[in-house]
């Protein structure tokens, strides 16, 4: 292992061997009002990766995520989600806001995807409790969203995403509205969940620090029109602790991404 991170690796060699999870080919997005949100995006995600889309506001990173989720159709090109074993790939989306139903308890909020899919009540409740347990909210199943802090609401939102046991987790700046302390803790937790549940994650953020801490690979985007300029592997071992946050290697990764973002203009 070299002392400094390799600053020029384009693709992580560990991930290349695993199966393709998301394949975005030649995708463009022009909104009806004429805004060119994305231009010629070629991008893929492999099973088990934690990929972050990093860029300034308005660079189209959220648009790209919504295209991958199928919430928006591309104007050109194609997005394909590779299913394993032929079935549709289960994906879950975590929004910028907790997006909980204010009239429903946490239990019912987290159970929603299962209710919509027609999973039997007993089985569903069991899985909801497991998901709430994963995010440390097992004592709060009867509580209504507004009684919880922003961080806890976000945890509930993540539990709702995990309850379907998704193969692909898409997260759209989920911790952007939280204070830094809560955000750091949730970053640590989501990293832990990613490793433990063997998730594949595509994560949108405009925080360089968050991108470095979380990712196995960072895609750096530029604005107007949105393009992927660089892809950088964050080749660091898994248990990433608070010590990693203050390490020289962390700083080096941040400096590299910062330079790439600054070089855009």
């Amino acid at each position: 292992m070299s002392a400094a991170p390799d600053l020029h690796t384009a693709a992580p060699d560990a991930a290349v061997r695993s199966a393709l999870a998301v394949d975005v080919k030649g995708v463009e997005k022009v909104f009806p009002n004429g805004v060119r949100a994305l231009e010629r995006i070629d991008f893929d995600v492999r099973d088990g990766e934690f990929v972050t889309l990093l860029g300034p506001s308005g660079c189209g990173k959220s648009t790209l995520l919504r295209l991958i989720a199928g919430l928006l159709p591309p104007s050109a090109g194609a997005v394909s989600l590779q299913a394993q074993g032929g079935g549709p790939r289960r994906l879950a989306f975590v929004f910028q806001h907790p997006t909980l139903m204010p009239w429903a308890s946490l239990l019912r909020n987290v159970r929603l995807p299962l209710d919509l899919a027609g999973v039997a009540r007993g089985e569903a409740d069991r899985r909801v409790r497991a998901a709430l347990d994963l995010v440390g909210l097992s004592e709060f199943e009867r509580v209504y969203p507004r009684e919880l802090s922003g961080g806890m609401q976000m945890r509930a939102s993540i539990a709702r995403a995990l309850v379907t046991e998704p193969r692909l987790l898409l997260m759209d700046e989920p911790f952007g509205a939280l204070d830094e302390i809560t955000r750091n803790r949730l970053d640590r937790d989501i990293r832990e969940l990613w490793a433990r549940q063997r998730l594949t994650v595509v994560f949108v953020t405009h925080s360089i620090y968050e991108a470095v801490f979380l990712s196995t690979r960072v895609a750096v985007m530029s604005a107007r029109p949105g393009r992927i300029l660089h892809q950088v592997a964050i080749d660091e071992p898994h248990p990433r602790t608070e010590a990693f946050r203050v390490s020289q290697r962390f700083a080096a990764h941040c400096a590299q991404l910062s330079a790439l973002l600054a070089g855009q203009r």
């Binding site: 919430l71 879950a92 989306f93 929004f95 997006t99 139903m101 009239w103 919509l116 899919a117 507004r146």
Partner: protein
């Protein structure tokens, strides 16, 4: 409810009544101009068989109208939100119905509809309908777009989205409309009765007010007026209670402050 919210208005009311009683007694105002509160109360008790019966007639019309406005209003709101085209073609007529004064169309309805009670119920329904339609329709549309995305991502059917998302989102709007409509239903019932005169049921509170006015029986007029006001307040409180039970615990409008 906090004690302040009960005690403060009660004190104001009591002060006004005392002042009223005092002024009427002091200046010896004739009964046929302004009766004293005590006399109004005595009249209410003495004429209770007559006035109580009339109260029931008017209340029945108002409640039937409110129920009808509720059913029609919700149904129409659901139809409106099905497509922008439907709403665009029908909504102007809902507004037309709203802006036409009920006094102007009541005579027609009373001529067309044989049953006097039904005629009055229709008049009151027309008055009470609009807030329920427009509020419920707005509520059904006012859904958090991210929650809509969440439902889409989970392949929710149209019905699932309606029942689990649109209806609960619409509840606060619906109840705001219902609160307005509960008062309007009573107003509609009374106004229609006035217009109908002897052509109506000839037994509601408005009829008693008309008769008492003609006979210069001002204390009875006041007593009937008092009953209408009380009925309106009770109706409003009942709807508020319903709203509180439905929204308690999650909606900002019904949280303890």
């Amino acid at each position: 409810m906090s004690p302040l919210k009960l005690v403060a208005p009660a004190l104001v009311g009591l002060a006004v009544l005392l002042l009223w009683q005092g002024l009427v007694t002091w200046y010896e105002v004739p009964v046929y101009l302004v009766p004293s509160p005590l006399l109004v109360l005595q009249t209410l008790v003495r004429d209770w068989t007559l006035l109580g019966g009339s109260l029931l007639v008017t209340l029945r019309i108002a409640l039937l109208a409110l129920l009808l406005a509720l059913l029609l209003g919700i149904a129409l709101a659901f139809v409106f939100v099905q497509s922008r085209a439907i709403e665009a073609s029908l909504f102007p007529y809902a507004i037309l119905l709203q802006v036409t004064p009920v006094v102007a169309i009541a005579p027609l309805i009373i001529i067309w509809v044989k049953d006097p009670t039904l005629a009055l119920v229709i008049c009151a329904t027309i008055v009470a309908l609009f807030p329920i339609i427009s509020n419920t329709a707005q509520g059904l549309r006012s859904v958090d777009p991210e929650l809509l995305d969440l439902f889409r991502l989970n392949h929710a059917t149209r019905l699932q989205t309606l029942v689990r998302l649109r209806v609960p989102s619409a509840l606060p709007y619906f109840f705001a409309g219902l609160k307005v409509s509960s008062g309007l239903a009573l107003i509609g019932a009374v106004v229609a009765e006035f217009v109908a005169g002897t052509g109506g049921t000839a037994s509601g509170l408005a009829y008693q007010i008309l008769q008492a006015g003609l006979q210069l029986n001002i204390p009875r007029l006041f007593a009937a007026l008092l009953l209408i006001t009380l009925a309106g307040v009770v109706l409003f409180l009942a709807v508020s209670l319903l709203a509180r039970m439905a929204l308690r615990g999650w909606h900002e409008s019904e949280l303890a402050r």
